[in-house]
C-alpha cells in the first residue's frame, strides 16, 4: 500500500512530455443530401473525415456538456429530423474504438439498420447537406514535462485544452489501445495503476474539456491529500 509521501517523492522512469495538436480543416468532395447518401459517403470518405466528425469535433465543441456527441448525430437530428437515428448516433462513444475502420463500420451499421427499419427515410432531403471535412494535423511540443506526480499536476494546470484532447482522447487511435497517454504514464512510470484506471473512466461526453481537466486533477490530488 503506497502512502501519500511515497507518491509525492516517486520519480518517473521517464518524464511525461506534454504535447498538443493544431488542425487545419479541409473540405472534402463528399456531400450527403439524404440519409441514403450519408450511408454511401460514410463508406467512401477518407479515414480523416471519420476522425474529424467524431474525435476532432469533440475538441471543437469541448465547452459543451449538454448533448453534443458527433457531427453525424447532430445532422441527423437537426437537418433531417431523424430523431431515432440521431439517438443511436449520439450514444456512440469514440473511446470504444482504437481504429477508424471499426468506427466507420459501426457508423455504417447504425445508419444501415435505421434505413432497413425506416426505408422511406432513405431519400428524405435534409434541410442542409452534410459536408464532409477532414483535417491536416501538426503535433506541437510544449515546454512542459513532468518527472513526478506533482509536476504532472502542475503541467496539467498549464496546458491548453487541445493538449488534454490530444493525450486523453485522440491517444486511443494513435496507440490503438483502450486507454490514454496520461493513464499509461501514471501506471507504467509511477506505479499508479488505480489512479490510471479511474482516469480512464471519466465520461468525456457529460463534461467540458475544462471539466475533464478538473476531474483528472481531483483524482490525482486524492492520493496526495
Amino acid at each position: 500500500m503506497s502512502t501519500s509521501s511515497d507518491i509525492v517523492t516517486r520519480t518517473a522512469k521517464s518524464p511525461f512530455e506534454f504535447k498538443s495538436a493544431a488542425n487545419l480543416l479541409r473540405i472534402e468532395r463528399e456531400q450527403s443530401r439524404t440519409l441514403g447518401e450519408l450511408l454511401r459517403d460514410l463508406h467512401t470518405c477518407p479515414d480523416s473525415s471519420i476522425f474529424q466528425h467524431t474525435f476532432r469535433t469533440l475538441q471543437e465543441h469541448h465547452f459543451i456538456k449538454e448533448g453534443f456527441s458527433n457531427d453525424f448525430a447532430h445532422w441527423a437530428y437537426t437537418e433531417v429530423g431523424a430523431v431515432g437515428l440521431g439517438e443511436r448516433l449520439v450514444s456512440l462513444d469514440v473511446r470504444e474504438f482504437t481504429n477508424i475502420a471499426d468506427l466507420r463500420a459501426r457508423l455504417e451499421n447504425i445508419v444501415s439498420d435505421f434505413l432497413s427499419q425506416n426505408p422511406r427515410s432513405r431519400d428524405q432531403e435534409a434541410v442542409n447537406p452534410f459536408y464532409f471535412c477532414s483535417a491536416d494535423t501538426v503535433v506541437l511540443p510544449t515546454e512542459i514535462a513532468a518527472h513526478s506526480v506533482q509536476e504532472f499536476i502542475d503541467g496539467l494546470r498549464k496546458v491548453s485544452v487541445h493538449s488534454i484532447h490530444y493525450h486523453f482522447i485522440e491517444a486511443r487511435l494513435r496507440r490503438e489501445l483502450e486507454t490514454n497517454d496520461f493513464s499509461i504514464w501514471l501506471r507504467r512510470d509511477l506505479g499508479m495503476g488505480g489512479v490510471a484506471t479511474r482516469l480512464n473512466q471519466i465520461d468525456i461526453y457529460t463534461s467540458t474539456a475544462e471539466g475533464v481537466r478538473k476531474q483528472i486533477l481531483r483524482i490525482l490530488e486524492g492520493p496526495l491529500n
Partner: protein
C-alpha cells in the same frame, strides 16, 4: 481628435455622466415622452494602433499563444504576399489590417498589396460579386475584356518573388497568370458565398481558380467542387478591436443614456444595416408579438441609410411601422460607431439577427463573443456559429423569433448558459488568433514543412 471628443464623449466623461444620473436611475422614473436626439459622431476617429500578440494572452491563454510561436518557427523568414482590391472599408481590409502585423510579429514577412483599376474595372467586379452571389447578370465580352485588361496591367506592375501569394476574392484572381514565372505557391481566398453563382460568371472565373495550389472558403456550403485542395477558414473577429474589446460599465451606461436605452429593463437588439435582407420589419413584428407577454425594449442599430437610397427607404418603413412606440429605439449610426455598437451589444439582454440571407454573419459572432444569448435565422454561416439550443437559438420565422424572445427573457439561466457556450465557441473557432494559427498551418502545408 477634438471633433471626435466633442461629438462622442470619452469613456471617462460618459462614466461621469452615469454617476450623475445613478441616483435617479434606480428610482421608478416615468419614461420621457420624447427621447432627446442622441449625440452621434460626424467624423471618424483616428485608427487605433494594432495590438501585439502578447496582448491576446489574457484572452486565449499563454499555452495557446506558445502554440502560435511554435507553429511559426518552420515558416519564420518566409515571405508572403496578400493581394486584394481595397485598402479601406469592407471586411477583408479590416481583417488584413490585423492579420498582417501579427504575422510580421511572428517573423513571417507579410506584404499586403492592393490592385488598382478604373471605375470600369470596379463596376465589372462589383457586378461579378453580385452575380457570384446569385444575382441575374448578363456577362458580356466587354466585361470580360475589362476584367482581363486590368488584371494584366496589375500583373505587369507587380512582382511575385514571395514564397506564398494569397489572392483575396475574384477581383485579382487573374494574377494567377504570373504563377508560371515564379516559384511561389498560390492560394485563392474566397470570402464570398459561391453556393449558387451565376453560371456564366463562374464558368469565366473557374479556369483561373483551378490554377491555384489551394483555395480557402468561409464555410463548406460556400465552396464549389474544384480539382485543388479546399481549406476552411472561418471568418473571425478581433477581440481587441473597438467593436469587441472589453468596456467599462460606466462607458456602456453612458452610451445607453445618450441613446435613451433604459438599462434597468430588458433590451433586445439587432445590429445591422437597414437592408431588407436583414429583415428589420420582421424584427419589429416579432417585438410586437412578444411584447404582449414580456416587457422589453427593442434596439435596431445600424447604418447604411445615409448614402443608400434603398437603405433610407427601409429605415423610413421601419419608423412608420414602429410609430411612436417609446420602447423601440432606432439608431442610424455612422460607420465609425464601433465603440458605441460594442456598448449597445454589451448592454443587451438578448441579441437578434433575423436575416433572410446572410454571409457568415459576423454580427452574430460579435454578440456570441460578448456572451449574449443570441436568436438568429438559420441562414448563411449562422448555423456554423449557432448550434441550436447549445450556443444560441436558431429560428425560421417571425413567430419563432417572437417565441424565443419570450422564452429566453423568462428563462434567464438557460439564456446565460447559451451565452457562456456561445462565447467559448467563438474563442475556440472564430477569433483572429485562431485565424493566425490557420494561416501558419496553411503556409507549412504549402511550403512542405508540415
Amino acid at each position: 481628435m477634438e471633433e471626435r471628443r466633442s461629438a462622442v464623449q470619452s469613456q471617462k466623461e460618459l462614466g461621469d455622466q452615469r454617476s450623475e444620473v445613478a441616483g435617479v436611475a434606480d428610482a421608478a422614473v416615468p419614461r420621457p415622452k420624447e427621447r432627446r436626439a442622441p449625440r452621434i459622431s460626424e467624423t471618424p476617429p483616428p485608427p487605433a494602433p494594432p495590438p501585439l500578440l502578447q496582448d491576446y494572452a489574457p484572452i486565449i491563454g499563454k499555452s495557446q499563444l506558445d502554440e502560435l510561436y511554435f507553429l511559426s518557427t518552420s515558416v519564420r523568414g518566409k515571405n508572403i504576399k496578400m493581394v486584394n482590391s481595397t485598402a479601406v472599408g469592407g471586411g477583408v481590409a479590416e481583417m488584413l489590417n490585423r492579420l498582417v502585423p501579427l504575422l510580421d510579429e511572428l517573423e513571417v514577412h507579410t506584404r499586403w498589396e492592393v490592385i488598382t483599376g478604373g471605375n470600369d474595372f470596379f463596376e465589372v467586379t462589383k457586378s461579378f460579386h453580385n452575380a457570384l452571389h446569385g444575382a441575374e447578370y448578363t456577362l458580356t465580352q466587354a466585361a470580360k475584356d475589362v476584367f482581363l485588361q486590368h488584371n494584366e496591367l496589375n500583373r505587369q506592375r507587380m512582382t511575385f518573388d514571395e514564397d506564398v501569394v494569397v489572392i483575396h476574392d475574384p477581383q485579382p484572381a487573374g494574377l494567377i497568370a504570373s504563377k508560371k514565372d515564379h516559384n511561389a505557391r498560390w492560394t485563392w481566398r474566397c470570402h464570398i458565398d459561391l453556393s449558387n453563382p451565376n453560371p456564366d460568371v463562374w464558368d469565366f472565373l473557374k479556369p483561373f481558380v483551378e490554377q491555384y495550389d489551394a483555395t480557402i472558403f468561409s464555410s463548406p456550403s460556400f465552396a464549389r467542387r474544384l480539382p485543388v485542395p479546399q481549406y476552411l477558414f472561418y471568418p473571425c473577429i478581433d477581440p481587441l478591436s473597438e467593436k469587441n474589446k472589453e468596456l467599462e460599465q460606466a462607458y456602456i451606461q453612458g452610451v445607453c443614456d445618450n441613446f435613451g436605452i433604459d438599462c434597468s429593463r430588458p433590451v433586445v437588439t439587432q445590429i445591422s444595416r437597414f437592408d431588407r435582407l436583414k429583415d428589420p420589419l420582421g424584427v419589429v413584428q416579432a417585438y410586437k408579438m412578444a411584447k404582449r407577454y414580456v416587457d422589453f425594449q427593442l434596439v435596431l442599430a445600424g447604418g447604411g441609410a445615409a448614402d443608400d437610397p434603398e437603405g433610407n427607404a427601409v429605415l423610413q418603413e421601419v419608423k412608420e411601422v414602429v410609430g411612436d412606440d417609446p420602447d423601440v429605439i432606432i439608431l442610424n449610426l455612422p460607420p465609425w460607431s464601433a465603440l458605441e455598437i460594442n456598448a449597445i451589444q454589451r448592454a443587451s439582454t438578448l441579441v437578434v439577427q433575423k436575416s433572410l440571407r446572410e454571409g457568415f454573419g459576423l454580427t452574430v459572432t460579435e454578440a456570441l463573443w460578448k456572451g449574449k444569448p443570441t436568436i438568429a435565422s438559420a441562414v448563411g454561416g449562422i448555423p456554423t456559429q449557432i448550434i441550436d439550443r447549445l450556443t444560441g437559438v436558431l429560428v425560421h420565422s417571425v413567430e419563432g423569433c417572437a417565441y424565443q424572445i419570450r422564452y429566453l427573457l423568462t428563462h434567464p439561466e438557460f439564456a446565460q448558459q447559451l451565452g457562456r457556450n456561445g462565447r467559448e465557441h467563438v474563442k475556440e473557432n472564430f477569433l483572429m488568433t485562431t485565424n493566425v494559427r490557420r494561416w501558419l498551418l496553411l503556409f507549412r502545408i504549402l511550403l512542405g514543412v508540415n
